[in-house]
Amino acid sequence: MTDAATTDPVQDFIAKAVADHPVILFMKGVPDQPRCGFSSVVVQILDQLGVDFVGVDVLQSEALRQGIKTFSDWPTIPQLYVKGEFVGGSDIVREMYESGELKTFFEQQGLAQQ
C-alpha cells in the first residue's frame, strides 16, 4: 500500500479489503442473493467465467456504502476490483464480458478457471 494512510477507518477497511482479495465485488446484497439488478449482473458474469470472488454487501453499512463511492470516485454500486485495481461498475463489466475482453483479462491475471 502507499504511505498515504488515512484516518478514516472506512477508507482503511476498503483499502485493506481490496489489497487482500484478488477479486472483490462491492455490491448490494450477497452473491447468493443480490438485492439489486446491477449487482446481480456482475455476480452472474463472474460465476459464468468461473472466477472466485469475495462479495461485500454495502447495504450492511451506510458508512461503507458512501465510503466506497469516495474510494474510487465512482458514484454507483456495484464496483469490481481486481488485484487492487478498480475495473468498473456493471456497464463496464458487462461490456467487457460481451466483447470477450473480461475473460482474457482474468486469464492474463491467472484468475479464470480453465
Partner: protein, 77 residues
C-alpha cells in the same frame, strides 16, 4: 427520486457540447436511463475515466437523484 429526461439531457449537453448524445428512459419512470455519448473528450481514455467524466458532468446527481444511468461512451471513429 426521479429526474426528468430533459434535465438529464441538458446536463449532458452542457458537459459535452460537441458530443452526439442519445438518452432513453428505459423503464418510463424517470429513474432508469440509458445514455449513449460519442465525444472527442473520450479519445484515448479508459472506460472508467470516460464514465467518470460523465458523472462529473452530472455534478453529484448520479447515485443521488439519479438512481440508474446505463452508460455507453466512445470517441468518434
Amino acid at each position: 427520486m426521479p429526474m426528468p429526461i430533459e434535465e438529464l439531457e441538458a446536463a449532458l449537453r452542457e458537459g459535452f457540447p460537441d458530443a452526439q448524445i442519445q438518452v432513453e428512459d428505459l423503464a418510463g419512470d424517470g429513474d432508469h436511463y440509458r445514455a449513449r455519448i460519442v465525444s472527442p473528450a473520450f479519445k484515448g481514455l479508459p472506460r472508467v475515466k470516460q464514465h467518470q467524466l460523465v458523472y462529473a458532468a452530472l455534478k453529484g446527481k448520479m447515485g443521488g437523484e439519479l438512481h440508474a444511468l446505463a452508460l455507453e461512451t466512445s470517441a468518434p471513429a
